[in-house]
Amino acid sequence: MTTGASEPLLALSNVNTFYGQAQVHFDLSITVGRGHIVCLLGGNASGKSTTMKIILGLVKPRSGDVTFDGASLLGLTTPQIVRRGIASVPEARRLFADMSVRENILMGAFVRNDRDAVAQDLDKMLTLFPKLGQRLSQRAGSLSGGEQQMVAMARALMSRPRMIVMDEPTMGLSPLYVDRVLELIRTINQEGVSVFMVEQNASLALEIAHEAYVLQTGKIVLSGPARALRDDPRIRDAYLGGSEAA
């Protein structure tokens, strides 16, 4: 395993994915640099969530490769991939609704065995997400959408990941919470965690991302540094084109 600093942390190369007969990805290639925030934009049904599932091993591509830190993830199961250091904030949060907030956050540390350090990290989460402090013993399913998003992020951080993948973290949140979430993503990233996020809201995502890709019906139609894409007139067209195709 070579870990040159210039080598990307995560790389999808020429990935083709199918659900039965239907092809969802066409020669998809994406890289996430170490310490970067990379954003995948695209309209409904363009294949964004499927990209997340490919990274996490929940769906396997028919061809192509996915490497993390230079090693292929294709032969690994989801739990094995998680143990390599990838945590996730799934689409629509997917908390364990009938477990308490504390249990949800601690589930994030499932792969760890260092009890004391886990307890310390829980305290750290409560300083990062102060609102969760009073909610610890509440059923996760009874929280508001924004609070659930906080729990999902805390849960993902608990595994001390090297990379977090997030599927539409701002979906369904009020503007206040959206800002808060973006802020947190930046904070997390500054602590050294690489971030790969899927978003529909291009302008928001491009504010915090280093690089971005635009996905349209399973093909990358545009990619580059976020700053450049922000000013690119095509981003609007490509992005809207993706929505129409859905």
Binding site: L56, L58, T77, T78, P79, V82, R83, A87, S88, P90, R94, L95, F96, A97, D98, M99, E103, L106, M107, G108, F110, V111, G141, R155, S159
Partner: protein
């Protein structure tokens, strides 16, 4: 037994025993959305291991319980590892069918090892009873209550405080999300199967001691009772399963007190059907919960059916039609007559289960309705046999559809449970409705087959008669499948939500399928009644329902020719290889398992 207190104690004790089975079912359903039909077989295995320990090894009671728990857990782990794990990526029906196959295999192995005769299982406890209020309680009651409470406590501690317990709960709530936390779902499955099996095995031991008798019929009963309790409590809900079990125990105990022993099971199944229809998520489910079964499309293995040229079908049919002109033995004709009768049942089931996707586990009830109708009409009202058989078919069509119609809104595994329960209800009504059905005595002296006044008693004439009926039914069904109606049926099976969105009235189509299927099965039952000349409430039992299902899967779900090929194969091959009768069910179970694992689309492919 005298006072109400006694009945209450009895109800709670029996409920406790059910709870040990039901909790295991709930754990398994929770993490893998599977109704484990092999749970009762593990309970049976537990009872017999207990018998070996107590009677042959003379183990003391605490050791007996430990031996049974460990041995049963090992069986559970083996089932999970070799029976179910290979099916993880198969169609959704596969694990359900696999547990049915496994249960057949286990039950038969126990029967072959220990013989079907009941055995006494002494409890090793002093036979005294203490006065409590107006009733009495014995040491065994206390033991059962103690085991129940201890298990509940251990389970609670496990789920609440152990890492694996957390993984079990997380997986039950959201499997994908749990995997994304690094939970290895295989470990979780192993854990729940091991625990469920240990509890189930101990339950079998305790029941054996409670009634001081064990026999191989315990298995299916235990599965059924456990499923009832679990569904009443809410599938996958562990505390719900405990409460459902106690409730079931009490309902049965009071029911027996008022109506008598032969009604015991009727209450269980009525309770099940009522709960399924009114609250399919169980008594304690909150409204928030969606039914835990998002089922579309993937329930039946998709495949390209084998194309058989028309001339080949004609030639084959022709050969069978003229077969009696050749010097074949009566034995061969007899075997084929059985195959034709099973073929009619399979046609019915392949339509309902394959084409419309309602996997029925109670199809033998349709045979029973047809058989009783035809037998009683010809016997008591002297209706000509030919007409009586048709009336039997019509009665099966009408009554079967009526009975199943409240369950039309159920999907997937729930349909299977509902049909299983309805099948049991039919058999219990036949047992208890003595004034009409003659109850446990059964109906004897049923007139032989006849047509237009001519008795059909020679094997040749019976052969032709049943063959022609089968061919006519098959042609009708083939027509049906090619029509617009057939396409609508398949649309419902593949995606009932989309079908509804296109404006198909699901209930109407499901009714039509059950009417047609009910008729074919009823005719088969009617003919059988006149062939056997004696029938009772056990003539058409769950084993036949499962045999029919195996036939249908062997042939390819929905496949008309496949249903007949499957029937000939499953009836004929054991004869060809001269397999002794007691091994046949075992073979059927193994065939089912192999099919599910290696060829879920059957021989000729699903349609």
């Amino acid at each position: 037994m005298s006072s109400w207190l006694d009945y209450t104690i009895n109800g709670l004790i029996v409920g406790n025993v059910y709870a040990l089975v039901a909790v295991g079912l709930a754990l398994i359903f929770g993490v893998s959305r599977l109704i484990n039909f092999a749970q009762g077989s593990i309970y049976l295995v537990g009872a017999y291991i207990g018998w070996v320990a107590v009677v042959q090894l003379h183990t003391p009671l605490p050791l007996t319980i430990i031996v049974v728990a460990v041995a049963a857990a090992i069986v559970g782990l083996i089932i999970e590892r070799f029976g179910l794990r290979p099916l993880q990526n198969s169609v959704r029906i596969a694990p359900l069918l696999a547990t049915i196959g496994i249960s057949f295999v286990l039950d038969q192995l126990v029967m072959l090892t220990f013989s079907p005769n009941p055995r006494a299982l002494p409890s090793q406890l002093p036979d005294v009873r203490f006065q409590v209020g107006g009733g009495t309680i014995g040491p065994l009651d206390l033991l059962i209550a103690g085991v129940g409470l201890t298990s509940a406590l251990l389970l609670f501690v496990f789920l609440r405080y152990s890492k694996l317990g957390w993984a079990v709960r997380a997986t039950a709530q959201d499997r994908d999300a749990a995997m994304q936390m690094g939970v290895d779902v295989n470990h979780v499955n192993q854990a729940v199967f091991g625990i469920a099996a240990a509890l189930g095995g101990v339950s079998g031991l305790l029941v054996g001691m409670y009634y001081n008798q064990i026999d191989t019929a315990m298995s299916l009963q235990a599965t059924l009772k456990g499923v009832v309790a679990e569904v009443v409590g809410g599938a996958g809900n562990v505390p719900g399963a405990v409460i459902g079990s106690l409730l079931l125990g009490l309902v049965e105990s009071y029911g027996v007190a008022v109506f008598g022993t032969s009604y015991r099971n009727l209450f269980a199944f009525l309770l099940l059907v009522i709960v399924l229809v009114l609250r399919p998520n169980g008594l304690f489910a909150s409204a928030r919960q969606a039914p835990p079964e998002p089922l579309t499309g993937t329930f039946i293995a998709p495949s390209r059916p084998v194309r058989i040229p028309r001339w080949a079908l004609l030639v084959t049919a022709g050969v069978f039609a003229i077969l009696p002109f050749f010097p074949v033995s009566f034995y061969v004709l007899q075997t084929l007559i059985n195959a034709w009768l099973l073929g009619m049942l399979a046609l019915s089931l392949t339509l309902v289960a394959g084409t419309v996707g309602q996997v029925s586990l109670g199809h033998a009830a349709l045979l029973a309705i047809g058989a009783y109708t035809s037998a009683l009409l010809s016997l008591t009202l002297s209706v000509p046999v030919g007409l009586a058989i048709i009336a039997g078919g019509l009665m099966s069509a009408a009554l079967g559809t009526l009975l199943i119609s409240p369950s039309f809104r159920l999907r997937g595994h729930y349909v299977s449970i509902a049909t299983l329960a309805i099948g049991e209800i039919v058999s219990l009504v036949i047992l208890n409705w003595e004034s009409v059905t003659r109850g446990p005595i059964g109906i004897s002296g049923i007139p032989p087959l006849s047509l237009f006044g001519y008795d059909l008693v020679s094997p040749t004439s019976i052969y032709w008669f049943s063959f022609v009926v089968l061919v006519v039914l098959a042609l009708l069904q083939g027509r049906l499948l090619g029509s617009h109606l057939g396409r609508s049926f398949r649309a419902i099976r593949d995606d009932d939500i989309a079908a509804r969105a296109y404006g198909l009235g699901l209930n109407r189509y499901k009714s039509l399928a059950f009417i047609f299927g009910g008729f074919a099965a009823g005719v088969s039952g009617g003919i059988a009644a006149h062939l056997y000349s004696y029938i009772n409430h056990e003539t058409f039992n769950t084993q036949q329902s499962i045999l029919a299902l195996t036939v249908v899967i062997l042939g390819g779900l929905g496949n008309v020719v496949g249903a007949i090929v499957g029937a000939v194969a499953l009836v004929g091959l054991p004869e060809v290889f001269r397999i002794a009768a007691e091994y046949r069910i075992l073979i059927y179970g193994i065939v089912l398992l192999l099919l599910v694992r290696f060829r879920p689309q059957g021989l000729l492919g699903t349609i």
